[in-house]
Symmetry: C2
Subunit: 244 residues, 2 copies
Amino acid sequence: MQPNKPTLHTCFSPSLLHLYDLTDAVVVIIDVFRATSTIAAALYNGAKHIIPVDSVAKAIEISKRIDGVAAGERDGKLAEGLQHGNSPLEYHKDFIENKTLVLTTTNGTKLLQMALDNNAKTIITGSFPNLTAVCNFLITQNKNVVLGCAGWKDRFNLEDTLFAGAVINKVKEQFIIHCDSSLTAELLYEQHKNSLVDFAPNLTHYHRLVERFGLIEDIKFCLTPDGANVLPLYEDGKLVSFSL
Amino acid sequence: MQPNKPTLHTCFSPSLLHLYDLTDAVVVIIDVFRATSTIAAALYNGAKHIIPVDSVAKAIEISKRIDGVAAGERDGKLAEGLQHGNSPLEYHKDFIENKTLVLTTTNGTKLLQMALDNNAKTIITGSFPNLTAVCNFLITQNKNVVLGCAGWKDRFNLEDTLFAGAVINKVKEQFIIHCDSSLTAELLYEQHKNSLVDFAPNLTHYHRLVERFGLIEDIKFCLTPDGANVLPLYEDGKLVSFSL
């Protein structure tokens, strides 16, 4: 153990975020199904930036003011009053290039707001589509890391945990990791890394998205590494694509 | 799926307990290292009953009044002002038979109090030493189950999760389980069930107990099934040994 390495912790639920010191850490907001996958896709396809907000009303109000695209979901489906949802496949280049997305979601955007409230200064978003960009950023920063899983309405979920495990698997040599959550995440990822899409039907959220809303293509995109390999960094109220 | 089966959920931290409906459920308090292992050992060795309390002062006051044994730990070691700690090996028959143990611990007894505050009516304690008794009780009750992991100061821990996985592995046919925490617990247990003691050095808490306090024999006892196979049931402020 090299004592000068930074630490890495995994937080399994927004309800546990207060247990971690975010002040000088890089906080990775993880909401694999689907907010952080959608954020990666939109920025990859040329969105100017993304403004995460905590209510539908705010999404509509801000998007009108700045001529942006109001989007979001509640309980896994298009939020009432919005024309655009939380599917990464909706934000292709022809539609989103040079536009601003104003996004509100059940879990991911809420956790981002909580991280700000807990004094986080460096916030990025992570998901399988931008796995490598996240790992490269964490390695170059040489700061403590908190992998923040958005979960589902404060409950633990497996897809966010699997992504945390994928990150740990790639960056662990650079960090001191002494955290049962991180060990669990990596063990689960090791168990399923070669069959993530086949494993997906075991996940609670899969049933919500696929059986109710038929979103199997979303699931495949959200579980495939590096399909939208950008680094969304939170700056002055916006997520922007950051270049190393 | 048979809709008339009861449900089973796993709660990974006291900070997540509010997400689960405990009212008509059997709540299993799990604190493998070491409160619920100690509780099983003391009752197995003939303790009359165990009074869980939330402070050292209360443990001393009550034990004096009823001529009981005040015991407990803080941060993994004997709490200041007490002569007896939280090691299951301390409570052998010659010492504890027919006595009342008044016990205070960092995590397990706190979670029990929280379950009461959240309207739980049926509370038992579980650990590897009484795995079979817990499973038999859950199967006969035909009620919803919440497996409550005490964790470490509200953080997720792996040993409590592994015990939850062991229970799920044995009772899953009798319940509807649609919960990512439960799936995770079972996957981890499946991965390590044949080598729990060998796996233990990976656990955060192992380092606390073994490297700081040399408690390897405690660890072995706490990870071995059915060494003290009783069913501690909470009734009128006391844990008593319940016979099916």
